[in-house]
């Protein structure tokens, strides 16, 4: 991934729609925030008016200055300052609440989008990198959503207010400072994007680091038990120093704007105003109080200028993140649902028609695969590792689309089906079982609250997990934790069976699903497996099934056999017929054991 290089011209067109999309649903809070800002500006402008009046009252006539008025002014000054603080707190509340609501929505949208992206996308990205892209990048947009617009508007408003007051006090000063403000604005505009591409590089370095760490934490045992610790530390050192280098370089460039330009502009303006005030006083055209006022107001320009600097710095960093968010949003969803295939819940017929497939423009892994399976039949898939068995199951579940040909269920191309329809119709158990740090119920239902507990417990019992379940202290509410030893790999695989059981699909795909079970346990669940396949049991409901196996026992009861070699079908037919034909590979396999046929 290359860091995007946003150009200043395109940035507004990219930022505005995003702000609009995520801020408009919370109009109420946005309005309150705007109100707090305007009130804040007004209160800030009021302060110096009071002190200037105070000075003039005192200076006009030292001896007879009415003490009552002074006390009143001092009281008012306290009131205004306290009110300004309260308004500031309200502003902080509304802006953070707006910011969180907007970024949380964006997080959800990104998560939803990423979940819809194909496995090719996910295979290239670590979970750690996606954490950074969905949460890290979005978090750095928080300030843009919560403050950028409002602070820039607020600061702009304050500057305009100050200039207006100065105009009233003295046309000369007002005009001079307005000219100056215009010039300053032009300088700010030209320099504010200095750091954007550099910050994009920093964000990428952070994402790389997060991805690296997440993967290594997931593989701690592999690293430690194989003495890879120092090697990993070497890699970590390189990533760390890369981040440091990029970070310091970005700051060095960006701070030219944030520190040097904004402050330089302010100092020049302040000196200009002070000089003008002194000159006017010497000309006898201004009171000492009004010079004080002039200096005070000009000094007040510092904070909005700094605000603008800070906000644009945040924007610089955010633009880098925004580019990455945009890039993620623009990644096309390759696997999208069709209009609907109208399958019922009954077992479907499968047909592969001249299917070819390659992962990510790599070498082809399937060549011209064609076969049919009637409703309710089971197919045993045999072949050496890497021969394409798993790929066939992935195409059946539509984790990928074929590069050539078509996969059909009941004559309808998988691409015609809605995704939810397809997922409900096809149940897959893989060798790699993924567990969540959630309770047993959620791990079984994958967060589907509609399934009743009784069915969950029944499914566990059916699969021989009853004794295991009985040991769980909080029943279905027991939290499953990674590495806590609550579930052996074999038990986890049984749990994966239970997940599919509960969803009751018409087509079941087992990808080496029983490989981690010892033969004794496998025999125990053989009955259950037959029930899952609809072969036995009271609720006899035939299902179509594809079973990938590397043991003959696993395919002992299938209807048909298919043997793959290097992505091609080398034998396919009824199991009984193949077994009876002494020249078939399958028969040889039965006679002499798997090794000689498949070697």
């Amino acid at each position: 991934m290359k860091p995007p290089k946003p150009s200043p011209a395109s940035e507004r067109t990219r930022l505005a729609p995003l702000l609009l999309t995520y801020l408009s649903p919370q109009g109420g809070r946005v309005a309150l925030l705007a109100l707090a800002l305007v009130a804040g500006v007004a209160l800030q402008l009021a302060g110096p008016q009071l002190t200037s009046r105070f000075i003039d009252v005192v200076a006009r006539d030292k001896a007879r200055a009415p003490l009552g008025e002074l006390e009143w002014l001092a009281g008012l000054f306290i009131a205004v300052t306290v009110a300004a603080q309260l308004v500031r707190m309200a502003g902080a509340y509304f802006s953070s609440s707006v910011g969180w609501a907007a970024t949380n929505q964006l997080r959800l949208d990104l998560a939803r989008h990423c979940l819809a992206l194909d496995m090719g996308f996910h295979n290239r990205r670590t979970a750690g990198e996606l954490i950074e892209r969905i949460d890290g990048d979005v978090s750095s947009l928080t300030q843009v959503f919560s403050q950028f617009v409002f602070q820039i508007l607020g600061s702009g408003l304050l500057i305009l207010g100050i200039l207006a007051v100065l105009f009233v006090k003295s046309v000369w000063v007002g005009a001079a400072l307005s000219l100056f403000a215009a010039a300053a604005f032009a300088v700010l505009q030209r320099t504010r994007n200095l750091g954007v591409p550099l910050f994009a590089a920093v964000r990428q370095a952070r994402a790389d680091l997060a991805g690296f760490v997440e993967e290594r934490l997931g593989g701690l045992d592999d690293i430690r038990a194989n003495g890879g610790g120092e090697h990993v530390m070497g890699q970590m050192g390189a990533l760390n120093s890369d981040l440091t280098t990029r970070g310091v370089r970005a700051i060095r460039v960006a701070a030219v704007f944030i520190v040097l330009v904004t402050n330089g502009v302010f100092i020049t303006g302040f000196t200009l105003a002070l000089g003008l005030g002194v000159w006017l006083f010497q000309q006898g055209r201004a009171s000492i109080g009004s010079i004080y006022l002039l200096v005070q107001y000009t000094a007040m320009l510092r904070s909005p200028l700094e605000q603008i600097g800070t906000q644009f710095q945040a924007l610089q960093q955010a633009m880098a993140s925004l580019g990455r968010v945009r890039e993620l949003q623009a990644t096309p969803e390759k696997i999208t649902g069709g209009p609907g295939a109208g399958w019922g819940s009954s077992a479907p017929a499968i047909s592969f028609e001249h299917v070819g497939f390659a992962y990510d423009e790599g070498a082809a892994v399937l060549h011209d695969i064609s076969f049919r399976l009637a409703p309710g039949e089971t197919l045993g898939l045999l072949g050496r590792t890497g021969s394409g068995k798993t790929t066939i199951t992935r195409l059946l579940a539509r984790l990928y689309d074929p590069a050539a040909g078509a996969v059909r269920l009941d004559g309808r191309d998988l691409r015609d089906a809605r995704l939810d329809e397809l997922r409900a119709h096809v149940g897959v158990v893989t060798q790699d079982v993924q567990l969540f740090r959630a309770d047993i119920r959620e791990n079984l239902t994958l967060f589907d609250p509609t399934l009743p507990d009784a069915r969950l417990i029944e499914a566990l019992q059916d699969l021989g997990l009853g004794p295991w379940f009985a040991r769980q202290p909080q029943g279905l509410d027991t939290l499953l934790e990674a590495g806590a030893g609550q579930l052996s790999a074999g038990e986890a695989q049984l749990l994966a069976f239970a997940r599919v059981f509960l969803r009751d699909p018409g087509l079941v795909v087992l990808d080496e699903a029983s490989s981690r079970l010892d033969p004794a346990t496998e025999a125990l669940i053989e009955d259950t497996l037959q029930r899952l396949l609809g072969r036995v049991g009271a609720s006899k409901r035939p299902r179509t099934a594809v079973i990938v196996a590397h043991r003959l026992a696993t395919v002992a009861r299938v209807d048909r056999i298919m043997i793959l070699e290097a992505g091609r079908i080398v034998e396919e037919g009824e199991r009984a017929a193949l077994a009876a034909d002494p020249t078939s590979r399958f028969a040889r396999l039965l006679r002499t054991g798997l090794e000689e046929v498949l070697a």
Partner: protein
């Protein structure tokens, strides 16, 4: 407690002392120069109102102020940029030490949550902790405030003293509320970690979720976690904002009193307009003191939360391990053949998983040089637990391990290359090239041999880019069997005396598995411990341990067990 936070701050500084102190000096200059405009403006105003003898020309004063201010900003830029070297290095130091502890320290490791949750401890907590040094570097502001206060005191003591009570009150209140700051911060950090942890889990299991059509429900759950985080974060923010606001309000009260007192003094002629302008600008400086003290207290509390979270990840590390200087690259321990494996004996190995009574109980095991030992047994019998406790990946509750008769205290750091290597049941590869994965820092000399031992050569030859193939996240672009043989290659390339497989064959077809055993035992040196229930392995085993419910129920070779052990007969018999 507090000391430990500051000792971490010092550790971060000590790693880059020169940049830190150079930057600090810059900030001291910057903050001291903050006093100049007030003094100069006072001279200007007194000069204009004729209340002071005209010394410098007004225009000279203005020019002087311009020069000082520009110099001040230049200093800030340089000091700020230098400081970033310190903060980025500090972040790197904390992250590096956390990972170092996890991958190299003795003893078993266990993450306090999911890996995604741990990522937040790597991403956010170091950043928060480095905030300690940021607050230190801007702390000279307090000195400026004090000097400003002294100047005001010299001009008019009575008026100056008015600002003291609000300052003291603010500091006291902030101090009293620090516990709450810590509580709110902790809640916010935990809510964030739950979000990152969940995102990590979701995308680690994305295939399973897609297959189950659970995408929508997963997003719904994320929405709940998002909402909890929003509430916790706003509470955290509003509490510290409120505290700051309280201080500012007290300071405003002080300023109002200053106005009144100043009015009286001005009427008495003891207070000039210039003095007034100076007070007006220095009051802001003085009220920065409580704000600063409050911030230091708050940041200390907030960092403590982060330090605790990082130390929980580096469980068992010495107190200051997070800021320890990284060791100079240690020379790899020379593979001393003097203590090459003759016999590894295990007596009474016991491990009970906390919270459930499962585990293993009193397992005895002897591995002799060149021997092949297989552990077998039904699902959940404790086979994996046995192997992991043996090599120290999980703690053992009891049991002695001896290498050639010498006791092994910490198997996690002893049973590693060049003595022992291990392939997990579900091995993890990383998203880099195949070569990087299998070598993982090892010498490439034995690579071809290792690939051959693992029966991986045809696959590697079949990859378009051979060993330079990128294997994708966690090795997903490889098939299950390729992944396991890549992991086996990684184990073999280390050339260890002892190799340990946990269920290597679960993703291998029978022919490949046979080939692997044949090649492995063709070289006489290998000692091997494997978990398997496949006949190919059982048949070749010198000794088989049959495990059931955590205990060894039978041992012997296949022939003997087929006669004497019903459980073994079932395991053997079903596999045909």
């Amino acid at each position: 407690m507090r000391a430990i936070t500051w000792r971490h701050a010092w550790g971060i500084i000590a790693a880059r002392p020169w940049p830190f102190f150079a930057s600090l000096s810059g900030y001291v200059v910057f903050f001291c120069l903050q006093l100049a405009p007030g003094l100069i403006t006072r001279r200007i105003f007194d000069g204009l109102s004729g209340q002071a003898p005209a010394g410098f020309n007004v225009w000279t004063l203005i020019a002087l102020m311009l020069a000082l201010e520009l110099g001040r900003v230049g200093t800030l830029y340089v000091a700020g940029v230098i400081f970033n070297v310190v903060s980025y290095s500090g972040e790197a130091l904390l992250k590096g030490n956390m990972l170092r502890w996890l991958v190299t320290a003795p003893g078993p490791r266990r993450l306090p949550g999911s890996t995604g949750e741990a990522v937040s401890r790597f991403r956010d907590d170091p950043l928060e902790t480095v905030g300690l040094t940021t607050i230190l570097i801007v702390s000279p502001q307090i000195v400026t405030g004090l000097v400003g206060f002294a100047i005001m005191l010299a001009i008019n003591a009575t008026i100056a003293l008015v600002v003291v009570p609000p300052v003291v009150a603010t500091v006291v209140v902030t101090y009293l509320l620090t516990r709450n700051i810590q509580r709110y911060r902790k809640a916010a950090r935990e809510a964030t970690a739950r979000v990152t942890g969940y995102i990590g889990e979701v995308f680690g299991a994305v295939q399973a979720l897609k297959l189950a059509g659970a995408e929508g429900r997963v997003v719904g759950r994320l929405a709940e976690l998002n909402e909890q985080r929003r509430a916790a974060s706003i509470r955290d923010l509003m509490f510290s904002t409120g505290l700051g606001s309280f201080g500012a309000n007290l300071a405003a009260l002080g300023s109002g009193c200053v106005l009144l007192l100043a009015a009286q003094a001005m009427r008495a002629g003891a207070f000039t307009v210039g003095d007034f302008t100076l007070f007006a600008s220095y009051l802001a400086l003085a009220s920065a003191i409580p704000a600063m003290v409050g911030q230091i207290l708050a940041v200390e509390r907030q960092s403590r939360v982060s330090i605790d979270r990082m130390r929980a990840l580096a469980d068992g590390a010495p107190p200051l391990a997070l800021v320890a200087r990284p060791p100079k690259v240690a020379p790899a321990p020379a593979a001393t053949r003097a203590d090459g494996l003759e016999v590894l004996s295990v007596r009474g190995l016991t491990r009970r998983h906390p919270g459930s009574e499962r585990g293993i109980e009193g397992v005895d095991l002897t591995l002799r040089r060149g021997g092949f030992t297989v552990v077998t047994g039904p699902v959940g019998a404790g086979k994996t637990t046995l192997v992991r406790a043996l090599i120290g990946l999980i703690p053992r509750d009891a049991g002695e391990i001896a290498w050639n008769g010498a006791p092994v205290a910490d198997p996690a750091s002893f049973l590693v290359p060049p003595r022992c290597a291990y392939t997990a049941q579900q091995p993890r590869l990383f998203s880099e090239t195949l070569r990087q994965n299998v070598l993982m820092g090892a010498d490439a000399a034995g690579l071809d041999h290792a690939i051959e031992l693992a029966v991986f050569e045809d696959d590697v030859a079949g990859f378009e880019q051979g060993l330079e193939t990128r294997v994708g996240t966690r090795g997903v672009t490889l098939s299950g069997g390729q992944l396991q043989r890549a992991a086996a290659t990684r184990m073999f390339v280390r050339g260890t005396d002892l190799v340990i497989f946990d269920d290597l064959s679960s993703a291998l077809d029978v022919a490949t598995e046979q080939q692997l055993w044949r090649r492995l035992f063709a070289q006489d040196r290998s000692t091997c411990l494997a978990i398997s229930h496949r006949r190919e392995a059982l048949r070749r085993a010198d000794e088989i341990l049959v495990l059931d419910e955590g205990r060894v129920v039978a041992r012997g070779d296949a022939a003997a067990l087929l006669v004497g052990c019903a459980l073994f007969q079932r395991i053997w018999g079903e596999d045909q």
